[in-house]
């Protein structure tokens, strides 16, 4: 081969590569990490299909991982600065939002710079993703809480759905005892090591482990004290069936074993998946705690979408989120009906689906209830150490169950949290 043909061959190869390059740049790939195939994965597919109609050049690639893996992969890639291992959009649970924003500064794209209108979003969702005046994420689903209960078991125990409407925790325990006496079923499934219920009760009183400035607020926190008092009463009352871990907890109510479940609205899809239980379920507001500022509304979990600043397609990703999650009211109606997702776009609450009756719940307009409660969820600052505080609370639960004093538990939690947060 002479020098000239070598040169032309080289030129051809280079042109081919350039062509391939421009071709790839035409169809842009947006990679998304999320974790629940029946929920946020399915919703993201719907969003991608809607966006694809007006933007055929964008291809959304959804990767379904488990939640722990998403967090671990994200944290590893950010810590090692391996940005090419990262997706363009990632789903982050709200409790962890500030942790990521503050631990890895500059890694997430501020969507307030991309023209997202946050004034129409649920305020507590916007607040938890705001750092130094910039808003980073696209608020997604809300974890507004409700009390799901079996109408048949409650009625067998001599109570009516009206009795469930504005409960106190003492009344709830009283009903639980009646249910067990009459039907043999326990009132709820509960993981005695899990602090989820404590978070629900605490936020319903407008308090959190941290104050609005992010400083620990454990000792002297009325909301936490009320929550621990309720937890102790529940642990000692014997109205719960012990569950170990997530799937075991879910099976307690899907199997018809227990009479109620108190959790975020995102569980609705799982409850409704038990077709044979149609018509037997009702939804009520959560019981009210005995503390100042207590409400019947709270939040558990919920998550939001974030765009990685290192992504070459960050502008497209931001536009995609803004077009669908930031504006499309019709989209929110569809994911409400199909997946039971209560979104954070307030305008969506005026759509048809929100006022529709649900046959599974005996024709009750449960979505309207949830969106009303959503407006009442007290805004708190989740801070950056919620997992640490949760672990400290969890460590005190066995002592509470065996009759230890709530004040001692609070003191121990306070000490542990203070050494853990540095």
């Amino acid at each position: 081969m002479n020098a000239f043909s070598k040169f032309t061959l080289g030129l051809t190869v280079t042109t081919a590569i350039t062509f391939a390059g421009t071709f790839a740049a035409d169809a842009k790939d947006i990679t998304v990490w999320c974790w629940d195939p029946n929920f946020n994965v399915a919703i993201m597919k719907e969003a991608a299909a809607r966006y694809g109609k007006t933007h055929p050049d964008i291809n959304v690639n959804i990767v379904d991982l488990n939640k722990g893996d998403v967090e671990q992969k994200l944290q590893t890639a950010l810590a090692s600065n391996a940005t090419d291992a990262l997706p363009d959009i990632v789903l982050i649970e709200d409790y962890g939002a500030q942790k990521y924003l503050q631990s890895f500064p500059g890694s997430f794209e501020a969507l307030s710079d991309h023209g997202v209108d946050y004034s129409g979003m649920a305020p507590y969702k916007v607040q938890l993703m705001t750092l130094e005046g910039k808003v980073y994420g696209m608020p997604f689903d809300s974890g507004v809480t409700g009390l799901f209960y079996r109408k048949d078991y409650i009625e067998a125990a001599g109570y009516k759905p009206e009795d469930m409407q504005s409960l106190t925790w003492d009344k709830y325990i009283e009903i639980g005892k009646a249910v067990e006496e009459k039907t043999g079923h326990k009132m709820l499934g509960m993981d005695p090591a899990d602090g989820g219920l404590i978070r629900i009760i605490m936020q319903s009183t407008g308090k959190w482990y941290f104050d609005m400035d992010g400083n620990p607020n454990i000792a002297g926190n009325e909301g936490l004290k009320a929550a621990l008092t309720v937890e102790q009463k529940l642990l000692q009352s014997g109205i719960y069936k012990p569950a170990s871990g997530w799937s075991d907890w879910v099976s307690k109510f899907t199997s018809g074993d227990v009479a109620s479940v108190i959790t975020g609205v995102w569980i609705t899809g799982t409850v409704k998946a038990q077709k044979d239980q149609a018509g037997k379920w009702g939804v009520a507001p959560i019981p009210m705690a005995d503390a100042q500022g207590a409400t019947n509304a709270s939040n558990l979990g919920g998550s939001s979408w974030y765009v990685l600043a290192s992504s070459p397609e960050k502008n497209e990703a931001a536009d995609f989120l803004n077009e669908i999650y930031g504006k499309d009211v019709d989209f929110y109606q569809q994911i409400l009906v199909n997946q039971g997702a209560v979104g954070s776009l307030l305008a969506a609450r005026n759509g048809d689906a929100y006022s529709s009756a649900d046959d599974f719940f005996g024709g009750d307009k449960i979505w309207q209830s949830f969106s009303n409660w959503l407006g009442q969820v007290p805004a708190v600052n989740y801070g950056i150490f919620t997992n640490e505080a949760d672990a400290a609370v969890s460590a005190q639960l066995p002592a509470l169950a065996s009759g230890g004093s709530v004040d001692d538990a609070i003191k121990a939690i306070d000490e542990q949290v203070k050494t853990q947060i540095q």
Binding site: F104, D191, G245, I384, A391, Q422
Partner: protein, 304 residues
């Protein structure tokens, strides 16, 4: 040529270029993937901060260890597992090996396979199975109730004592066979005539075991003790999958099963990432392994 090499003084072997070239690829990889990360983690253990915002902090992390109730709890749990589980497992492995070494035993291969089989299963897979078997209304409790061994379900997951017992049962199930292999192999290397001579001299069976078998297995017992100690100090998969809560922020009731390795994982991936402090805790494990291993070697030294 070969004779010349062999008779060369030791010093010239150290500067033999050919030799170094042969080991160079392996050496480079070891330095790159083993030595460098270790030195880097040592450097990290003197830094603190949230996530990537690390700054040099001197001995702050080491001081933090003493005031951290969670670390002290994890350290206590890990040492407890070590002191309780390793002796139980090694005694069982030794007994099983001696029993299965008996040529008169029928179906020897079947028992051997049955005991060794657990150690080919994946750690996570067996942990998940154990979890589902030991939950409140799981298989184990149903069997115990049906056989009237227990009058009410054993709180495997909700009581600190029983959740620790569960972890000990799980690791013992998984690793006894593994250690038994070493004892079996060692037993087959012992000259049988020694035992025959002892038997002819009228030495009873228990004394043959204590005075002959055990001393002759000493190097292997030392080896299994050291590897089991290291393994238990690094205990992670079982506690992370059997008794850890759904959020992965605690293990067992009141953190009764939290181990040092699991705490390192929490500090890195579950809590506000404290890479520096997590590195400090991992160096605690290194130091513990070094101390305990040298202690075991010293205890087992030849006393002539």
């Amino acid at each position: 040529m070969i004779t010349a090499r062999q008779s060369a003084p030791p010093l010239s072997r150290a500067i033999n270029v050919n030799g170094w070239l042969f080991v160079a690829p392996a050496l480079c990889l070891i330095i790159l993937f083993l030595a460098c990360p270790m030195l880097w983690s040592l450097w990290m253990s003197f830094q603190k901060g949230k996530g990537m915002n690390l700054t040099f902090a001197g001995f702050d992390n080491i001081i933090r260890l003493w005031h951290d109730p969670v670390f002290l709890k994890a350290l206590g749990n890990t040492l407890l597992f070590l002191l309780v589980q390793v002796p139980i497992m090694l005694c069982l492995a030794l007994l099983a090996a001696v029993t299965l070494d008996d040529p008169k035993l029928k179906f020897r291969w079947l028992f051997r396979t049955a005991i060794i089989l657990p150690c080919v299963t994946s750690l996570v897979a067996y942990s998940v199975l154990f979890r589902s078997m030991f939950v409140e209304d799981g298989l184990i409790n149903q069997v115990l109730l049906a056989l009237h061994i227990a009058s009410k379900p054993v709180p495997w997951m909700t009581d600190p004592f029983w959740s620790r017992a569960l972890i000990v049962i799980a690791i013992t199930w998984r690793w006894t066979g593994y250690n038994m292999i070493f004892y079996l192999a060692a037993l087959q290397n012992i000259d049988k005539s020694v035992f025959e001579a002892a038997r002819v001299d009228g030495v009873p069976a228990y004394a043959r075991f204590l005075r002959l078998t055990v001393p002759m297995l000493k190097p292997v017992i030392l080896f299994t003790t050291v590897t089991s100690t290291i393994g238990t100090l690094q205990l992670f998969d079982e506690v992370a999958n059997i008794t850890a809560n759904a959020a992965g922020t605690s293990a067992g009731p009141a953190n009764a099963d939290l181990t040092l390795s699991l705490y390192i994982y929490q500090l890195t991936f579950k809590f506000m990432p404290s890479f520096g402090y997590a590195a400090t805790v991992s160096w605690v494990i290194v130091i513990l392994v070094a101390i305990l291993s040298s202690l075991q070697f010293w205890l087992a030294r030849e006393k002539d």
